[in-house]
């Protein structure tokens, strides 16, 4: 089981990553946008930080209002189009009222099917 014939041919393919930092309170809505726009998965970590709208604590420390701490969500997609759609949709729908940022990055992936919309 240790050796696959295709291993030697494992190659890297260009893909995009969208990173979103947003209030925990809208995290599930953002997840819905991601899936709707064709993202096949995403990774979430608890975050804190500072921006235009002041400081957000990490949820490590007792805060009476925990839901205002932030999360960092990242989505890897094979297709630049999908990444752009997710980014724009999130900015458009949420970031006039809620705190948060979005940015894109280049990545290289091996298993492209994991990151392409179920077509």
């Amino acid at each position: 089981m240790e050796h696959h014939p295709e291993d030697t041919t494992m190659t890297f393919h260009k893909a995009k990553k969208v990173v979103i930092v947003a209030e925990k309170i809208i995290a599930s809505k953002i997840a819905a946008v991601i899936e709707e726009q064709g993202g096949k998965g995403y990774t979430v970590v608890q975050a804190g930080g500072k921006g235009e709208h002041g400081s957000h604590y990490t949820s490590e420390r007792a805060a009476v209002v925990d839901d205002f701490s932030t999360v960092r969500i990242e989505v890897v997609v094979a297709d630049r189009e999908v990444a752009e759609r997710i980014s724009k949709k999130v900015v458009e729908k949420y970031f006039d009222k809620y705190s948060g940022i979005v940015y894109l990055m280049d990545v290289e992936i091996i298993r492209t099917t994991k990151f392409s919309p179920k077509s």
Partner: protein, 335 residues
């Protein structure tokens, strides 16, 4: 005069209460820059324990209570929640430099109810030996939910109008569900149900009750630290929020005390129950209210309403409101 003297005496004595002491201690060490922190997990657990105790206790005693007697106080609770929000919106409408949405949200938060303040009131009444109806803490949702709904509905109507839209559709049922699903109300109602339907006395008296006051002391410490920490946020917004937060809790409490007195005369609502009603009116929501309002009125700035509530409203309703309403009750009901 005697009332004033009595109140001031009581007020001063209460500063020796460890509950208040921990609140002030928390503010003090935060002001001095202490690195002491109570972990978030502990805070969430403490809130759960307090609400479960209040719920179990209520559930157990409700079993043989005459729930009909609850009808009028429950109706008054709804009324108070609604009146507080209307009043708040009216007041903020008159004030210059106050963002509309922020006004709606702040009024909603002060109409809603704080479980922590309620817990302090219960301890204080026990200390004073003043009894109250077992179902009195269950008035909480009757005031909390209508206040939140009204604030969000009015804010949505306002927003829609501003945007030129005509038909206004707010999902009221959605807001009710969100409120009931919030961690505070869930725990309280679960406790009530378990108290009502299971033989939970042994677990209440051996576990939840003995830990109640101790956990409350730690909760007060956390709230004191947070009150101080949020003052700077409050400074970044119009000072009207702070002024409102300093006065409104007492006015709300007096309104509720008056209605409670009517219920006392009409259906024999107990003096302790009247105090509980005044305290929940005076309190402003700290756990479930903020996220509900953040979701419901997203254009409101959380620094305004949370700052006002955490840094001013809650300390005032705990440290000034509770002893005030107790002293008032002792005078009025000749306790």
């Amino acid at each position: 005069m005697e009332f004033l003297a009595d109140f001031f005496l009581r007020f001063l004595v209460q500063f020796q209460s460890p509950t208040l002491g921990f609140l002030i201690g928390g503010m003090l060490i935060a002001a001095l820059g202490s690195n002491l922190k109570i972990p978030s997990a502990i805070y969430q657990f403490i809130v759960f324990m307090l609400l479960m105790k209040i719920g179990l206790n209520g559930g157990i005693e409700i079993r043989e209570a005459n729930l009909l007697a609850m009808a009028l106080p429950a109706f008054f609770s709804v009324l108070i929640g609604v009146v507080i929000v209307w009043l708040g919106i009216f007041i903020f409408g008159l004030l210059p430099g106050v963002n509309k949405a922020d006004g709606f949200a702040t009024a909603g938060l002060f109409g809603a109810v704080s479980a922590s303040t309620l817990a302090v009131a219960i301890v204080m009444l026990e200390e004073e030996g003043i009894g109250f109806e077992a179902w009195a803490p269950a008035l909480y949702p009757f005031m909390d939910i209508p206040a939140l709904i009204l604030a969000i509905v009015l804010a949505s109507i306002h927003e829609k109008k501003k945007a030129g839209g005509s038909e206004v559709k707010v999902e009221v049922w959605q807001i009710v569900k969100e409120s009931l699903r919030g961690s505070a109300l869930s725990a309280l109602l679960l406790g009530l149900a378990l108290g009502l339907f299971t033989k939970s006395e042994p677990i209440l008296t051996s576990f939840y009750e003995p830990l109640f006051r101790g956990f409350l002391s730690i909760l007060m410490l956390i709230m004191g630290m947070e009150a101080y920490d949020r003052i700077k946020e409050l400074r970044s917004v119009a000072h009207w929020y702070a002024i409102y937060a300093g006065i409104a809790p007492l006015i709300h409490g007096f309104i509720a005390f008056g209605l409670g007195y009517i219920a006392h005369v009409l259906v024999g609502f107990s003096p302790g129950g009247v105090i509980i009603l005044a305290v929940i009116a005076s309190s402003n929501s700290d756990i479930s209210g903020p996220p509900t309002l953040r979701a419901g009125i997203p254009s409101a700035n959380p620094s305004a309403y949370i700052g006002a509530s955490t840094s001013v409203g809650t300390p005032v309703s705990i440290a000034v409101g509770i002893p005030l309403f107790i002293a008032l009750a002792q005078l009025v009901f000749d306790l």
